[in-house]
Symmetry: C2
Subunit: 73 residues, 2 copies
DNA sequence: GGAGTAATGACACTCATAGTCCGTTGACTT
DNA sequence: AAGTCAACGGACTATGAGTGTCATTACTCC
C-alpha cells in the first residue's frame, strides 16, 4: 500500500484517540487545515519536517508512530 | 536536533553497516548520488516517498529505522 | 613526484510539487 | 437555524526532486 495512505491512516487513528478535530491537530502542528485533510486521505507526500511537527502534535515518539499495523510488511 | 540531520545520520549508520558506498545505496534507492550525499548531511528535507525508497534499500522496517538513538527524545 | 581511481562533498540550476489561503458543500448535531 | 466537522477546489508561493559540474581527500601503482 501507498506510504502516503499508511501515514494518513496512522495520523487519523492517533488523532481520534486524542479526540481532536483535523483543524485542532492542524493548528497544533502548525499546518493548514485543508492540508491536514489531504494528508489523512493519502493525497500528500509530506516532508519529514512536517511529519515531525505532526508526530509531536500527536504526542507520540517516532518509533511508536511507525510501530503500527500500517507499517508492518 | 534537526530532524533532517537525524535522518541523515541514521541512514549513514545503516549504510555503513551494510558496507555500501553512498553511490551504491543511491542506486538501490533510485536517487542521485549527490542527492544521497545531501540527505546524509542533513541538507534535504525529504518526502516520505523518498524516505520509503531509502528505507527499503537499507533493508529495514520503518519501526526499526526510527527505533534508534537519534530519534529518542 | 605524478597519474589514475574511488568515494564524498558543495553548489547551482530547472521543474514539479509541497504547503498556504481563500472559499464552498454536505452530513450531522443541538 | 446555527454550529461543527470533513472534504473538496482553485489560485498562489515556497521548496523538494532530480541532475550536472567541479573540487577534495585518500588510496594505489608506476
Amino acid at each position: 500500500m501507498d506510504i502516503k495512505l499508511k501515514v494518513g491512516q496512522r495520523i487519523k487513528e492517533l488523532r481520534l484517540q486524542l479526540g481532536l478535530s483535523q483543524e485542532a491537530l492542524a493548528n497544533k502542528a502548525d499546518v493548514d487545515r485543508t492540508y491536514m485533510t489531504d494528508v489523512e486521505n493519502g493525497r500528500r507526500n509530506i516532508s519529514v519536517e512536517v511529519l515531525e511537527r505532526i508526530i509531536m502534535a500527536l504526542e507520540i515518539s517516532y518509533a511508536d508512530f511507525f510501530n503500527a499495523k500500517e507499517f508492518m510488511k
